[in-house]
């Protein structure tokens, strides 16, 4: 946007200063908004394992946790819209997930492995349609001192729907 012209008179110089000042002010405002909003709202994105290690230091802040839903643990009290379930640890790193055979595989294995760290979750609200065994849950909320994660927001992904596996039931045609 730097528009330069050869002859610069004093009056255009003055108006130029005004423009630069205006631009800089807006720029500062934008930077302030980005920085302050990041500080005010950023959340740690943790795995269940990391949360287990770091327990204590993250109690007072909103955090995000990702894990795999254990289907048997889902309980719903529809009178109070109180949803309880347990998630198990899955790696947070995409490369690690790929190395273990893709997200669907990781979710499947993690849901079967009792040795992995687990985390009980409580959520108040409507049961999301995608909540089921082996779904990946991304939860935003706070960690209670009782070791339960209180989720305000629940995002679910079922990669099996998109994953490219060889079909189970088939016939020659």
């Amino acid at each position: 946007m730097a528009d330069s012209a050869a002859p610069v008179s004093s009056s255009t110089k003055k108006s130029r200063t005004k423009f630069i000042l205006g631009g800089v002010l807006i720029l500062i405002a934008i930077i302030y908004l980005v920085v302050s909003s990041t500080q005010a709202t950023a959340q740690y994105f943790l795995t269940v394992g990391e949360l287990a290690e770091k327990s204590g230091q993250v109690y007072d802040r909103e955090i995000r946790v990702s894990g795999v839903v254990l289907g048997d643990s889902i309980q719903y009290d529809s009178k109070n819209l109180l949803l309880k379930f347990t998630v198990a640890h899955i790696p947070g790193d995409n490369k690690e997930i790929e190395a273990q055979g893709g997200l669907a595989m990781v979710l499947h294995n993690a849901s079967m492995d009792p040795a992995l760290p687990r985390l009980p979750v409580v959520y108040e609200g409507v049961v999301p349609d995608l909540l089921k065994n082996e779904a990946q849950a991304i939860m935003t909320g706070t960690m209670g001192a009782d070791g339960v994660f209180y989720a305000d927001e629940l995002l679910l992904k079922c990669p099996t729907k998109y994953e490219e596996a060889v079909p189970e039931q088939s016939g020659n045609g």
């Binding site: 946007m1 730097a2 528009d3 330069s4 012209a5 009056s11 255009t12 108006s15 005004k18 423009f19 205006g22 631009g23 807006i26 720029l27 405002a29 934008i30 908004l33 980005v34 302050s36 909003s37 990041t38 005010a40 709202t41 950023a42 959340q43 740690y44 994105f45 943790l46 995000r64 990702s66 529809s78 009178k79 819209l81 995409n94 893709g102 997200l103 669907a104 409507v126 049961v127 349609d129 995608l130 089921k132 991304i138 935003t140 927001e153 995002l155 992904k157 079922c158 990669p159 729907k161 998109y162 994953e163 490219e164 060889v166 079909p167 039931q169 088939s170 016939g171 020659n172 045609g173």
Partner: protein
């Protein structure tokens, strides 16, 4: 057989694209028009070729050819025909194919225009379009091939591959897995195509911009040539965003219309730069300023389009839209990086040619308000971009992933959106070249006073939230100024010509479509803002479990549970459908039917709300849970969303305004208007 045809057509169009690129460059170097003409034919041919391939894929989808892996993953026998067709863009490889198909359609159309006056642009427009095409074809042909089939290996075991391994027999599953139930919605028919049309449409203005850079034409010819293309691309992108928002409101988001999901943001970012571009090209046309800036904007828009396609398709980010992880991620990165660097290098190379033809003198002139508008759009873009890449950056630097959610975006963009609304109010009254506080104030005080009535009325009906006050006042301010401006023009025309009011209104808009189309768009934005304020500030909700005959109350509404029925449908769903009576202030308002569909093939439920929608508010009822025997009771979640309908009405007005602005003019070659600042000011 057909599968091989489809793949073959893709392969041929890839080779044709490569040939076209070579022929265009060679023809340009040798100054041989025959070679360029041949390249142009190559570009023309790609569209029928890709169409053939895409139609074959659709045919496979419609006829349940589950031996094709893509077909198996996105359709099932029970799905209705229209969903089988839309399944084309229901998965990764098919949607890449669809992207390419639409892009070649645009390229096809642009090839047909008269090139006599702009011959030197042609080879480079061809090169840019075909390079983009070739990149996507590489993805489809070699990484995400929709024509791969399942094979039974002779030694046991199964694989998916394009060509049969030796001795392998084709494997045909009995039924497909079916489209993700979330996508089985009429929105699927129209939202993705509109968004994609918006995406691919921006390839054309970008191609012309690069052509202008390479040929060294520093005038605004490329902008005039692509103005309509840009508007059409922007129209589709806006339409895609609004429709997606509506779809989210109807089913996906349970009354949410915008979740600041990374993929939503990915589609929003090119819209931001595109909108900034639409505004700032006007300054180049009128005053010859901002030539470099416009180049930067269109380059950014193109890169963001590719980046947006990448974000939706690569699975780097956690999002409801994100599909599975895929190998196409790194390729996208390389392509975006390369295009960005090459474009930037070209721009820097021509930097000095693109100097401004004048100076900005007045801080309140139209062009300087446009400049501030651009800065604000860039600010919102910066917020969005930062939010999207922040988790990646934080992980890179600290090893710990830190994310930001909707609160971040709302907090950071709120003031910027408010700033844009203020500018939207002031700018139409300021003059090109020179404006002062005095002239602006004189033009503004009447509509300003009128706008104060709205917050006063809000106070009177009991609104106490300061955010709502400010928002409603801003909306009223812009609305009254825009209507005032429009009205002044219409009445002046009526006086001058003796036409009736509606005729004067119509002819005026027809005479300066961009200006009055723009005003209509602004009115649309304001109406949308009112809807957003309504749902964000005034939304209330409640929930409860009630047995038959019992009621839940929310604000002036009472919802009474009548009955519930469970039944199977021929397309493979089990439907639980509740009937509730709605009363408003004790008066019966009819019934709603919230339901829960369970899809057998996908083993997934889907909640569909019952909604009573009026201009004043929406009552939005969700069926959460129920006892098998309906007398026992059912659980409902109920939202009351005041004013939200204005969001959709505004969206409609917005699109209408864009159509007015994009409508072809009668005179094909508009005269060049380039006046010195002072003259422009006195005429405006």
């Amino acid at each position: 057989m057909l599968v091989n045809f489809g793949y073959g057509a893709l392969l041929i169009s890839f080779l044709t694209a490569l040939y076209g690129i070579g022929a265009a460059i060679y023809g340009n170097r040798k100054n041989s028009w025959a070679w360029v003409e041949s390249a142009r034919l190559a570009m023309l041919v790609t569209f029928p070729l890709i169409s053939l391939s895409a139609l074959i894929l659709i045919w496979l989808l419609v006829n349940d050819h589950y031996e094709v892996q893509f077909v198996y993953t996105v359709t099932s026998t029970a799905m209705p025909l229209y969903l089988k067709i839309t399944a084309l863009w229901g998965g990764q490889s098919g949607s890449l194919m669809f992207w390419v198909w639409l892009m070649t359609a645009f390229a096809f159309a642009v090839t047909f225009r008269k090139w006599d006056r702009d011959r030197e642009f042609l080879p480079w427009v061809i090169v840019v379009s075909l390079v983009t095409l070739a990149f996507f074809l590489i993805l489809i042909l070699f990484v995400e091939n929709p024509f791969e089939r399942y094979w039974q290996l002779p030694g046991g075991g199964e694989i998916a591959a394009m060509f049969p391994p030796e001795g392998a027999e084709i494997l045909r599953p009995m039924d497909g897995r079916g489209l993700n139930p979330l996508l089985r919605h009429p929105g699927m028919v129209i939202h993705p195509p509109m968004l994609y049309l918006g995406f691919v449409g921006f390839v054309i203005p970008y191609a012309f911009a690069i052509a202008a850079l390479i040929t060294g034409r520093s005038d605004d010819r490329w902008i005039r040539l692509t103005r309509r293309w840009t508007l059409v691309a922007w129209l589709f992108l806006s339409l895609g965003l609004v429709l997606g928002s509506r779809w989210a409101y109807d089913v996906l988001g349970w009354g949410g219309y915008w979740a600041w999901d990374p993929v939503e943001i990915a589609a929003f970012m090119p819209w931001l730069t595109g909108t900034a571009f639409l505004h700032s090209v006007m300054i180049q046309e009128k005053r010859g300023l901002f030539k470099r800036w416009n180049m930067i904007l269109i380059i950014l828009t193109y890169c963001l389009v590719i980046f947006g396609t990448f974000l939706t398709r690569s699975g780097v980010l956690s999002s409801v839209h994100a599909f599975s992880q895929s190998a196409i991620g790194p390729l996208f990165f390389v392509f975006i990086g390369l295009t960005f660097l090459v474009s930037l290098w070209l721009l820097l190379d021509r930097w000095n040619r693109l100097g401004s033809e004048g100076q900005m003198t007045s801080l309140l002139s139209r062009e300087s308000l446009f400049l501030f508008n651009n800065l604000l759009f860039m600010g919102i873009l910066a917020v969005c971009f930062w939010g999207v890449i922040f988790p990646l950056i934080s992980e890179l630097l600290t090893g710990q992933k830190v994310t930001v959610g909707p609160p971040f975006y709302e907090r950071a963009t709120g003031p910027l959106f408010a700033g844009l609304l203020i500018l939207m109010g002031i700018a139409p009254l300021s003059a090109w070249g020179h404006s002062t506080y005095k002239t602006l104030g004189r033009a503004m005080w009447k509509p300003f006073l009128v706008s104060l009535l709205v917050p006063a009325a809000a106070l009177f009906v009991g609104v106490r939230q300061w955010g709502a006050f400010l928002g409603l006042w801003l909306a009223a301010f812009v609305l009254s100024i825009t209507l005032y401006e429009y009205g002044r023009g219409v009445f002046a025309r009526k006086r001058a010509t003796g036409e009736t009011l509606p005729l004067a209104f119509w002819r005026l808009a027809g005479k300066n479509r961009r200006r009055y189309g723009g005003y209509i768009i602004h009115i649309g934005v304001v109406l949308m803002a009112i809807g957003i304020i309504g749902i964000e500030v005034f939304q209330t909700e409640t929930q409860g479990t009630i047995s038959q005959g019992q009621s839940i109350s929310l604000d002036q509404y009472t919802v009474t549970y009548r009955s519930l029925a469970e039944f199977n449908t021929p397309d493979g769903r089990n439907v639980a459908r509740a009937v509730v009576d709605v009363q408003k202030n004790g008066k019966p308002m009819g019934q709603l039917f919230p339901r829960r569909d369970y899809y057998y093939d996908a083993q997934q439920p889907m909640s569909i709300p019952g909604v009573r929608s009026t201009m004043e508010d929406d009552l939005y009822v969700l069926l959460v849970d129920w006892e098998p025997i309906s007398e026992m009771g059912a659980t409902f979640k109920i939202y009351h969303n005041p004013l939200v309908n204005w969001l959709w009405i505004g969206g409609f007005v917005f699109i209408l305004g864009t159509m007015v602005a994009a409508w072809p003019d009668k005179d094909v070659e508009p005269k060049k208007v380039r006046m010195p600042a002072r003259v422009a000011a006195s005429k405006a």
